[in-house]
Every structure is written in structure tokens, then in C-alpha cells.
């Protein structure tokens, strides 16, 4: 899932909030709260570092909006909260699907008695049925919707692509014609037939964009659907102040579940004792504040206005020199939850860009020289304050296909980068900047935000490019605008990040697959060699053979100089003692359903 490279978005206004966030928070603090069944409500307060974009699961592409959707909508399958590595479990399905012997047919049985939350789009309580998933999956490919997640099922479900073709001709997507690939056997049974075996299909149906939406709601709200999420999940959207505050409220009519998870990690024992046997959900209200400056959310946590916070660059405020938690936090019984996120950051080159794109040897040399000049260790040390590890493969640690033995081809070596540019005729002009081999000027344009952290990255890039005498300019803009330009292959370079949607290397390698250009392939990198390897891997189940193909793909993208690979960030979260059951999940982003608050501790 697309994620901010930095932990911030570029909003000029946010700077003012360094000063005013305290007062803003206290302004929003409710004076009279909605009470739960027994006394005081359990309210969880968290911060997002970037604004949401909306709440249509099929359409949103950023992690933070999707996190909200995760707790409003439900999928067929989900992940076990404690099992590591991540393990699939049924969500609205009765069990994991029955898969036919040829690996092409998946049959899901949906639990009876699951209802959508009340909405004016429904006249009577609306039960979730198999047809809703058939509708929601078809909707992913509706050309008018242009879902950024279409790539996940494109060409995979029997008969679906014919519908898409027809829609492109008629201008209207036909939702009514049943197709073989999404066959509704009875009210509660859905049979999905694939064109070819796909070993990741269960992961796909567990992914938030593949949540069930009701057709009545989609048609009732039309274009306004982004503001009206109506799902079967434990929470509903209570209040939404765009870019400032989101409030989720527990649904009283949610079917609920009992906290019952096992762990093979002894460290989880206290957590299990805290939570075992409790009836979920327990949090009555989740209040999400959009706080773009890390410093502001940090200060809000210090002032007890947030219940947990990622420590980001504030390592020195948390750890002693020996790595232990500072006394000030120990005294407050604040817990530290550590993990390395299954994610990578990367700066892509646009392969359609006339200046740096293409596969000629000169361009290869240029891109690889740029990669060799960029000092990731300095990024980690100075900008990320050691809260990250260097990524050497597009597949991060903790995800199937990652190989810690892999040594990158384009390592930091500015001297070599200079020699390489010299060898391919990138001569210096009278001002000392390198030109293209034909003598025309060479200027890189790196897209960027306008926050303090963006400036730090720009400084680092400037330093790196000065080392190889390549002129670089920065193109400041908003995250949303940059995304739009990226999808149209119009940005030359931009740093972005991807966090696993499911714990398989395929989810990362697809970022480089040619046909995904315009969707998730930001660099519009279309290498026939890479694509051939990718397609070969796609036909294989998890195996040493497929892992080897992942290595080959990594080498191929390095040879082509597709990305400046970045880092995997460490996720260090400080949690207030009254928040029970918190554990960072590698895939799920909204843990709220699984948490509890100890109100006596909070007093």
C-alpha cells in the first residue's frame, strides 16, 4: 500500500500547528461524551501523520484512509492478530475457502446474520450476502471507477475481463449479468473461478480494498460515496472533519467476537492474559487527529493527549544510550512496542522521461551513477535517526522472498559513479555541471513536499548530486498532486514507499511489473526481461525456485537502475499503560477492534 516516504505530508498550514496543536486538541476534546453500557466510554485517541482522502475501499490508495476502511468494512478473510508470520483467518467467511485441486476454484461460505450498519440507503436492516462480494469485486474493475487496486484481480477472474471490455465499448459497466468467475451458488455461497492458478488469491480477498460494499449504498450516494462508508465492520464513521479529525464509533448492533488468539512468542503472554476471553469490540470510540508534524504529535503524546504514538525521529527522547527505555517513561509505565515494518522506501526513475528514462546504455549508466551517489547510510543516521534499516531488495525483511544474503549491485560509491558518467560521455559544461552525452543540459527534477523533513531529504539529494556534478532541481507539491502526475508517468523522480498488503514478495515485485504502469508501477518501468521473470514467478507456489526468481528480478531492476532503494523503517510505538492488547501487526493497520482500555489505570 502506498505510504508516505517521510512520515509527513506537505501542508503549509501544519506548521502553525506546532504552536497551536495543544489548543486544537483540547478544543476537540468532547465535554459530554456518549456513554457506553456501563459508565464512562472507552475512548482511544490516535494521530495520523497525513490527511485521509476518503472512505471508498475500492478507490482509496493511501494507507491512512485504508486504515479507517479496515475497521468500517469487512473482508472474506483477515489475519490472525498474534500469529507471526502473518496467518490468514476467516472474517465474514465461515472458514478458509475450499480450493479445487487444480487451484482455480475458491468456494467461500459466508456467515449468516451479518448486517450492514444502518443507513438511509436501506429501508430495512440489510444482511450481507454472497452477491455483495460478487458486486464489490466486479466494481474493482469498473473502468469509470479506475480503482488503483484493479491490478490485483485484472485478468485473473474468469469472464470478468470480458465485462470490462464490454464496458469500455458501451461506456457502462454491466453489474447485472452473472459471470462464471464470480458465481453466486446460493444466498451465502460464492464460487470464484480463476483463469489460472493463483497462490496469492487468499491474500487478495483479505486485502481492505476487497471489502464488501452494498450496491444500494454505492448507487444512493453516487459520487459522494467517498464520504459515506457503510460497512459490516465493528465501527462506523461518526464524524469527519476533512484533514483534521475522524471519529469512529462502535456499532451497537455489531455481531462481536471473543478475543481468542494464540502466540508462539512468550513476550505475548501478558497481552494474552490481559485480553483472553473478552468480548470484542471494547473501544467505544476511536478519535483520530491528523497531525502532520511529527513534533506536534510527539508533544501531544507527552501531554497525554494521545494513547499511543510512533517515536519516529525522537529516538533520543525515548532511549538511554544503552538502548533501554528512559526512566521518565518507565515511571509512567509506558510500554515500547517494537517491530520492523514490512515496507520499503524507494525513489523511482520515470522510464518514459526523455532525460533519464529508457534502456540505452547511457541512460542505464546515468541512473546507476545517481543510485551510487546517494548515501543511504547518511539518510538513516542523520535524517532517520537510526530508526530504519537499509533495504537491499525490493522485498523487505519479513516478507516471503526476502533474502538477507543478497548484496546490492549499485552500492554507494560516488567515485565509481563519476567514472561511470565520464565513461559514457556525460561531460561537464563551463559551469561544472554534467551535460547529456549529446551536449544538451542535464537537469534532474525530484518531486518533493514542503515540510522540514522534505527539506532535509532535498539537502541530502543535493549533496549526493553535487558529488557527481549532476544538476538537480526540486519540484515542490502536494502528495495527492504528485500521485496523480505519477500515475500519468509525468514525474521524473519521486521518493515514495510501499508497505505490504500481504506478506508475499509478489506484492512488492508487482511495483515493477510493466503492465502495472499507471497503477502501482510508479516508474513506468517496462522491462521485458523483468516482466518475463515476474510472470514465471507468478505461476509458481512459494518455493526455492520462486525465491530464486525474486533474486533474479532484483538483479534485473538493479541492472536497469529502476529505483534508488531506500530503507525499511523501524516501527517503535510508545503505548500508554491503560491501552491493553496492543501489538504491531505486519499487515493489519487498524488494531482498534482487538484493544481494550483500562479505565481505572487511566484515572
Amino acid at each position: 500500500m502506498l505510504r508516505l516516504t517521510h512520515y509527513l505530508l506537505n501542508r503549509a498550514v501544519s506548521r502553525f500547528c506546532v504552536l497551536c496543536i495543544g489548543s486544537v486538541l483540547s478544543m476537540f476534546m468532547p465535554t459530554s461524551a456518549v456513554h457506553a453500557d456501563n459508565g464512562e466510554p472507552k475512548v482511544l485517541r490516535v494521530a495520523f501523520p497525513t490527511a485521509e482522502t476518503g472512505f471508498d475501499p475500492a478507490r482509496v490508495h493511501d494507507m491512512y484512509s485504508s486504515t479507517i476502511n479496515e475497521s468500517i468494512f469487512e473482508r472474506l478473510l483477515t489475519y490472525d492478530y498474534l500469529a507471526r508470520p502473518a496467518r490468514l483467518t476467516p472474517m465474514v467467511a465461515e472458514s478458509l475457502p475450499k480450493i479445487s485441486d487444480d487451484g482455480k476454484t475458491y468456494t467461500f461460505r459466508i456467515k449468516r446474520g451479518i448486517y450492514f450498519s444502518d443507513d438511509s440507503a436501506f429501508s430495512t436492516p440489510r444482511e450481507l450476502v454472497a452477491e455483495d462480494f460478487a458486486y464489490s469485486f466486479k466494481r474493482m474493475l469498473d473502468p469509470r471507477l479506475r480503482s488503483p487496486w484493479a491490478f490485483m484481480i485484472e485478468g485473473k477472474i474468469a469472464g470478468l475481463d470480458a465485462l470490462v471490455e464490454k464496458a469500455k465499448r458501451n461506456g457502462k459497466f454491466d453489474y447485472d449479468t452473472p459471470i462464471d468467475g464470480l458465481y453466486v451458488v446460493d444466498r451465502y455461497t460464492l464460487r470464484i473461478t480463476l483463469n489460472a492458478p493463483d497462490y496469492n488469491f487468499n491474500y487478495i480477498v483479505a486485502h481492505t480494498p476487497f471489502s464488501a460494499v452494498a450496491r444500494e449504498v454505492v448507487e444512493h450516494y453516487g459520487e459522494d460515496i467517498m464520504a459515506h462508508p457503510v460497512g459490516t465492520g465493528p465501527y462506523r464513521l461518526k464524524q469527519w472533519i476533512r484533514g483534521a479529525r475522524i471519529v469512529l464509533e462502535k456499532r451497537t448492533d455489531y455481531r462481536g467476537m471473543v478475543w481468542d488468539f494464540q502466540s508462539n512468542d512468550k513476550n505475548d503472554d501478558p497481552l494474552i492474559r490481559e485480553m483472553e476471553g473478552k468480548r470484542l469490540p471494547l473501544i467505544d470510540r476511536v478519535e483520530i487527529f491528523i497531525i502532520e508534524e511529527a513534533q506536534s504529535s510527539w508533544l501531544a503524546f507527552e501531554r497525554n493527549e494521545l494513547d499511543y504514538v510512533g517515536i519516529g525521529v525522537f529516538r533520543d527522547k525515548v532511549f538511554e544510550h544503552d538502548g533501554s527505555l528512559k526512566a521518565v517513561w518507565q515511571k509512567q509505565n509506558v510500554r515500547l512496542v517494537q517491530a520492523i515494518d514490512p515496507e520499503i522506501t524507494y525513489t523511482f526513475f520515470n522510464f518514459r522521461d526523455p532525460m533519464i528514462g529508457g534502456f540505452s546504455k547511457e541512460k542505464l549508466a546515468l541512473r546507476r551513477a545517481i543510485i551510487m551517489a546517494y548515501d543511504r547510510q547518511e539518510e538513516i543516521r542523520v535524517i532517520r535517526k537510526d530508526q530504519a534499516i537499509q533495504a537491499n531488495m525490493p522485498i523487505p525483511a519479513g516478507v516471503v522472498g526476502h533474502d538477507p544474503r543478497y548484496r546490492p549491485l549499485n552500492r554507494y560509491d560516488p567515485a565509481l559513479a563519476n567514472k561511470l558518467l565520464d565513461a559514457f560521455g556525460y561531460r561537464k559544461d563551463k559551469n561544472g555541471w554534467r551535460t547529456l552525452p549529446d551536449g544538451s543540459p542535464l537537469t534532474l527534477k525530484l518531486a518533493t513536499g514542503t515540510t522540514a523533513i522534505d527539506r532535509q531529504f532535498n539537502e541530502l539529494w543535493k549533496k549526493a548530486m553535487d558529488k557527481i556534478a549532476v544538476h538537480i532541481e526540486f519540484n515542490p507539491g502536494k502528495f495527492a498532486d504528485h500521485i496523480k502526475a505519477t500515475k500519468a508517468c509525468q514525474l521524473q523522480m519521486w521518493g515514495t514507499a510501499w508497505i505490504a498488503d500481504y506478506p508475499d514478495g509478489d506484492n512488492f515485485m508487482q511495483l515493477l511489473y510493466g503492465p502495472n504502469t499507471g497503477q502501482s508501477n510508479n516508474g513506468c518501468y517496462e522491462s521485458s526481461a523483468f516482466d518475463a521473470l515476474y510472470e514465471k514467478a507468478n505461476r509458481l507456489p512459494d518455493s526455492p525456485e520462486r525465491n530464486h526468481l525474486f533474486l533474479e528480478m532484483t538483479r534485473q531492476m538493479e541492472v536497469d537502475g529502476a529505483w534508488v532503494l531506500g530503507v525499511s523503517r523501524k516501527s517503535n510505538v510508545l503505548v500508554r499503560p491503560w491501552v491493553l492488547g496492543y501489538k504491531r501487526h505486519p499487515i493489519l493497520n487498524a488494531p482498534w477492534l482487538y484493544l481494550d482500555i483500562d479505565l481505572t489505570l487511566k484515572q
Binding site: A12, Q295, L364, R405, D413, A415, A452, R455, A529, V559
Partner: protein
Amino acid sequence: MSAAVSHYSKGFWQLTWRRLAMDRVGVVSLIIVLMFFMIILFSAFGLIASDWNHEVAINDAPPDLWGILTDKHTSVIQPSSNNTLSEISEPLPELSVVDPLAEDIAKLRTPIDFSSHIIDPLADTLRDIGYSQYVSTDPTTIEKRTSLPFGGDRWGRDVLKKTIKGTQTSLFVGLTAALLATFLGTLFGAFAGYYGSYIDDTLNWIYSVFNAIPYLLLVLAIAAVLQKRGIATVVLILGLTGWTGVFRLIRAEYMKHRAREYVMAARAFGVSSLRIMFIHILPNVSHIVLVEISILTVAFIKSEVILSFLGFGVAVDDVSWGSMLNDAQSELILGHWWELVAAGGAMALLVTAFSLFTDAIRDALDPKAQGAGA
């Protein structure tokens, strides 16, 4: 009895200077302002702080005024290649990806850790220039200071030199933008006030439009439209948005002067309107222009700081007080206060001195004020 004095009356500027010299605060602030001007002249000609971009110290070097005497250094190893991965005990299986640069790079270095089937088109070249997967050029050791008189920034650059360079940027931006804004304001004000009627109406309408939009929003909107960052952009933004105050004052003055006898006389002589406006009337309102320039300079220095702080200001390879404050904000919570203090202190000093100087000059320029020789 001084007969010589009584022979002629002193000129306007002479009297002004007399009055200014009597004002002790005015003189002190003038000296401070002049000092700043000296600094930016030296820095503009590269005599000082031209190497502000050099990373002379360790990251976030603390300030230490005695450090300049002791001159403590530490050795920092600068790897020329990242060998952060531990050596691989188990070799990787062969890869078939062909690296087109492999041969080129291999020529520059020794062979890679596994023979890949992937063709690297650059392989030959790389071999030529001595590439090796294993061997990299020896790490170099460089000396870095452990502290600096005013501290070092995140990358180890001297905060003092950054402040000086930032002074140059900020003062330059403030002055040129003030000149631009005053020029526009005076020009429009003169036309509106002198001609009146529909010219006045039109210019007033433009003025009202500019004034109706909240200042900071207008500035940010123009900054967003211009996209390209840099000092010239900031000057343009501030100049184009800041002329309205001057316009109103000058317009009022011209309306007043239009009816004066000397203007009537000039008109009766058949002097052209432009000549009346800029040769006859302008000197009589020049003291207002002068005061406005100094007021705007201060205002624009502050605006530049805000713009750069918000990320719309100077480019990455430039430094201004605003960008320093921006840098400092994320470091402050980690206890690195020196960049904030240096930039904030310099700004406070200049802005205060400049404001006091402006007050003094306004008093001095007022012909009705009582002063020496009046």
C-alpha cells in the same frame, strides 16, 4: 553672533541629518544596521562565509566558544562504498539476470559475488573503470571538529557561517522586495492621486482586490503558482503583494499636492503631467517613500522568514534565516537549540535595530519636528 549661519537657511536633508544625529537610539541602531550591511557586502563578495556549505564538524556539533581555542578534531571515516552487510557465509545461487553494465563495471572492479546470467550492458565499461563487487576503494579518513563556536547543524555545517549567509539572503530579499513594492506603490499612487477619475477608480479597485485577500494566503497562493523556488521568486512575491500600503499613502499625498499653488503654477506654464508628478511633487513626498522603504524592509525580512519556514522560500542550496528556523524546528525537541538561537538572535537584532532606525528617521524627516537648527 554667527553671521555666516544667518546668511542662508539649512537644506532639508541637512536638517534631517542634524535631527537624526541628536537621537542617540537612532544613531546606535543606524550603526547596527550599517554593520549588518557590511556583513552582507563582505559575504556577497565572498570575503566571508563563502564556504558555509562545507561540513566542517561532526553532525549537530554543539556550540563551544572556547572550542575555537582548543580546536578539537576527531577522525571520521568516510566510506567510499557501503559495506554494511556482513560478509556472506553462504554463496547465493547463480542468477540468470543479465546485467548490461556488468562488464563495464567489472572492468572498474573485480568480479561480483555470484556469476549472474543477467546481462549487464555496462559490464565492459564498469570493468574498465575498476568496479568490483567485493573490493571497494579504501575508506578515507577526514578530520572533523567536535564543536564550533556557534555550533554545527545537522550535517555539521558551521551555524555562524550559515547565519552570515542567511543574513545576506534575508537582508537582500527584504531590501529589494521593499524597493520593488515601494516603486510600484509610488507609481500607482502617483497616477491615482494625480489624475483621479477613472484611473483612480481602476487602481483603487485593484488595490481593494489585493487588500481583500488575507495577506499570508495571497503570498502562499502566489508562491504555489510560481512553483520555482529561489530568492528571485521570494522577492517577486513580496514585492507584488506588498505595494498596497505605499499606494494608499502616496495617493493621498498626491491628491493633496495636486491642488497646491506650485502645481497650479507649473500647470499654467504648460509643464507636462509626468514632469509635474515625478519632478515637482515626488521630492515633496519622498520622506514618506523613504520611511515606507524602511518599514517594508523589516516587514519583508519577517515575511521571507515565514515563507522559508513554510517551505516556499529559498532553494535547498541557499540559506536564509527562515530556512534555518525551519531546520531548527525538528531539532529543537532533541535539544539542538543553537541554530534557532543564532538565526532568531540575528533576526531579532536586525529587525529591532531597523525598526528603531525607521522611527528615528521618521522623526528626523518630519519638518515640523523641533530639532537642532530648526
